[in-house]
């Protein structure tokens, strides 16, 4: 009897846990997720604070979605992803909308919870000094060459009338 | 005579710019007109459904 109860409890615990849907899945099968609670995870690529709420745009493997959350949750984010930064990875749960009536038909997720699961960091992009110097020299030489040839042509035109060359 | 010439060119300058500014507003006004018309049609769709 006890064992049966234990098994049933275990099944009940396991059943509703959803693995995090990838953003791509949410976008590719919107009908199956529309209006339902989903878990999401992605890198922050944009934060727009609007009063006591905020938009957090997250990116994962080529897909991006806007998450509508509370401003305090958004303020926990320290890094926004761009060329020189890897953004914080945030995860959470929320209601997915295919066409949110509150937000003019946008695709979005209204977050129930949003936490920073991995802090981002700065991405170093050091300048290659050798490449820089070489390319600068070549560019300068190319421009000077162009001016020189143009000058040459002008001089030649003064001395030899067209069309004798 | 010099003062008269200066006055003349200033008026021309203003008139030229006035055309430009009102022209810009006319063009932007056109886009606003389109948007208002579009929004009105959206409301119409909602009402007559």
């Amino acid at each position: 009897m006890k064992r049966a109860v234990l098994v049933i409890l275990l099944l009940l615990l396991l059943a509703p846990s959803a693995r995090a849907e990838t953003l791509r899945e949410l976008l590719d099968e919107p009908a199956s997720y529309d209006g339902r609670q989903v878990s999401f995870r992605g890198e922050v690529i944009g934060v727009i604070i609007k009063g006591d709420h905020a938009w957090v745009n997250i990116f994962d493997n080529g897909s991006a979605i806007g998450v509508w959350c509370r401003a305090e949750e958004a303020r926990e984010i320290s890094f926004i992803g761009d060329y020189t930064h890897r953004g914080d990875i945030v995860a959470g749960t929320g209601i997915f909308h295919l066409a949110c009536a509150e937000h003019g038909g946008d695709v979005d997720i209204h977050a129930i919870s949003l936490t920073v699961s991995e802090k981002g960091h700065v991405i170093e992009r050091p300048m290659d000094v050798l490449l820089f110097s070489v390319s600068a020299l070549i560019a300068l030489a190319a421009v000077l060459l162009s001016f020189y040839l143009w000058h040459l042509r002008k001089e030649r035109r003064k001395r030899v009338p067209w069309p004798f060359y | 005579m010099i003062v008269g010439l200066r006055e003349f060119s200033l008026r021309e300058f203003l008139k030229k710019n006035l055309d430009l500014i009102t022209g810009i507003f006319a063009e932007i006004g056109l886009t606003v007109l389109v948007m208002l018309l579009s929004f009105a049609l959206c409301l119409l769709i909602l009402i007559f459904s």
Partner: protein
């Protein structure tokens, strides 16, 4: 067929003329590739600077080679101008793809070329796998290419900066599909086009910046994004700073700013010149404006009704921001998108996709930054259809002569009708070819039509077909369509004729 016509064989001189004039395009591209260095310095992206330097250097070196070895003072004729325009619109993007490829932002050199052509032609279809992490200077270059290539026109720029004798300039200008007519002097016309472009760029940037700040962006980002989107909005290009296009902002006001700049970009240069010069009545009497507005509102109504009845967008605001916005983006051939591409394929009803495809194919005004068959031709063909109907209904002796108002009253002559019909035919042929090739790759019919119309009309709206994993053949096909659409088809056919002639008769 070819033998029956007396065509003068190609001479080496013909090739010289084309090649020599390409040197100017090369030089201008070299200068254009220098500018993003300023952006790179501003954002401390020094590692990117070599890419622009190398691209610029190659442009200048190639330009020098062409200038020195192919120097000629011979006059350009129409055939040279058309061929040169066609080649220039491949040559310049190829040069500009160098920094894009070197930066590692694209998956392959072919993708970099695709991106560059999409930039120059003002299309906006993108193969960039990760725009959000792209360097700001390379991202700026993408947007800048659209402003320079399509907003103003690479030939226009080279004319106004480097000047040239009147005749050849007129012809090169015509090759780029812009009618002469604003001012008698071609160089002055070019400068006016640039002036108008810069002015609307400033206005567009201001609108976007204000909207952005109002919505919660910090001023710096609002300005940078605003400047870039004003560039691509005016150029009716459609590249955006972020991968979600304008959906990134979730903002009605940003979309409103976008609509303002999109419609302005889709208006004829002659119209701008007339209206800004005081002839404001032109704005409502002009045939193209009338057709453009009518179609935008009519198509918008059809799409919105369809979307509403499908249950997808139940509020007026969402119908406006999704239905009308996408229609305006399509008709002006811009390509700003507020619906994820994959949703256009999977969620939107087919009828709306077809209307959007039609809107994209028909396009914006002639002599504007828009693509497509163009409103002037559509208006002319429609009026001539009406006249034909009239002719059949009236007695034989009656004479039906129509006219249309485009800056001035113009009679609807057979020549004008024929010109419009031929080009419309050209577009339709390419549209069918593109659609069939896309369908061959396994995509649905309406999605194939949509993506093909987007490429051919230089629009940039995507239903998801365009992606880095697209087959190389399809990438090349769309590159061809973007290029052909930009040149309004005729220049491309002349180039093909040029090549066939060279192959058949040889070069003397």
């Amino acid at each position: 067929m070819w033998g029956a016509m007396v065509l003068t064989p190609l001479t080496k001189e013909d090739l010289r003329i084309v090649g020599f004039n390409l040197s100017r395009i090369s030089y201008v591209t070299g200068f254009v590739l220098f500018l993003p260095i300023i952006v790179a310095i501003f954002f401390n992206e020094f590692d990117n600077i070599p890419y622009f330097l190398i691209g610029s250097a190659i442009s200048f070196i190639l330009g020098s080679i062409l200038y020195h070895f192919l120097y000629t003072q011979a006059e350009m004729e129409l055939k040279h101008a058309l061929v040169m325009a066609a080649v220039a619109w491949l040559f310049a993007p190829l040069l500009a793809s160098i920094p894009i490829w070197l930066s590692g932002s694209m998956a392959s050199p072919l993708d970099a070329c695709f991106e560059s052509i999409s930039g120059f032609t003002g299309t906006g279809l993108t193969l960039a796998p990760d725009i959000d992490h792209m360097s700001r200077s390379i991202n700026f270059l993408r947007h800048f290419l659209q402003f320079m290539g399509d907003g103003i026109g690479i030939i226009v720029i080279s004319l106004s900066i480097l000047g040239r004798t009147e005749m050849s300039s007129v012809l090169a200008f015509k090759g780029e599909a812009k009618e002469v007519g604003i001012r008698p002097s071609i160089v002055r016309t070019s400068r006016i086009i640039i002036g108008i472009g810069v002015m609307f760029l400033a206005i567009g940037t201001a609108l976007f910046t204000v909207a952005g700040i109002q919505e919660g962006l910090d001023p710096g980002q609002a300005f940078f994004d605003g400047l870039n989107h004003a560039m691509t909005g005016y150029a009716t290009g459609g590249f955006t700073v972020h991968s979600q296009s304008l959906l990134y902002y979730h903002s009605l006001w940003v979309e409103v700013a976008a609509i303002v700049i999109m419609i302005i970009g889709a208006l004829n240069f002659n119209l701008h010149y007339a209206v800004l010069g005081g002839r404001r009545s032109e704005i409502l009497r002009n045939l193209e404006v009338r057709v453009l507005l009518f179609l935008m509102v009519a198509f918008g109504f059809l799409v919105s009704s369809n979307l509403f009845s499908s249950g997808l967008y139940p509020t007026a605001e969402s119908l406006f921001r999704k239905g009308f916005f996408q229609v305006i983006s399509a008709q002006t051939t811009t390509g700003f998108q507020t619906v994820p591409p994959v949703h256009l394929m999977l969620v939107w009803p087919v009828f709306s996709i077809l209307i959007l495809s039609l809107a994209m194919l028909l396009g914006g005004s002639a002599n504007s930054t828009s693509g497509g068959i163009k409103m002037l031709r559509v208006g002319v063909l429609f009026k001539s259809l009406v006249n034909e109907i009239k002719r059949s209904l009236l007695p034989r002796s009656a004479v039906v002569v129509g006219s249309f108002h485009h800056v001035e009253e113009t009679p609807l002559s057979d020549k004008i009708i024929r010109g419009s019909a031929v080009i419309a035919m050209g577009y339709l042929i390419l549209f069918m070819m593109g659609t069939m090739l896309t369908v061959l790759h396994g995509y649905g019919l309406e999605d194939s039509m949509f993506e093909t119309a987007s490429a051919l009309g230089n629009v940039g709206l995507s239903c998801g077909i365009t992606s880095p994993s697209m087959s190389p053949l399809l990438k090349v096909t769309y590159m061809f369509l973007m290029w052909a659409g930009k040149l309004e088809v005729i220049a491309v056919f002349v180039l093909i004729g040029f090549i066939l002639l060279a192959l058949r008769r040889g070069i003397k």
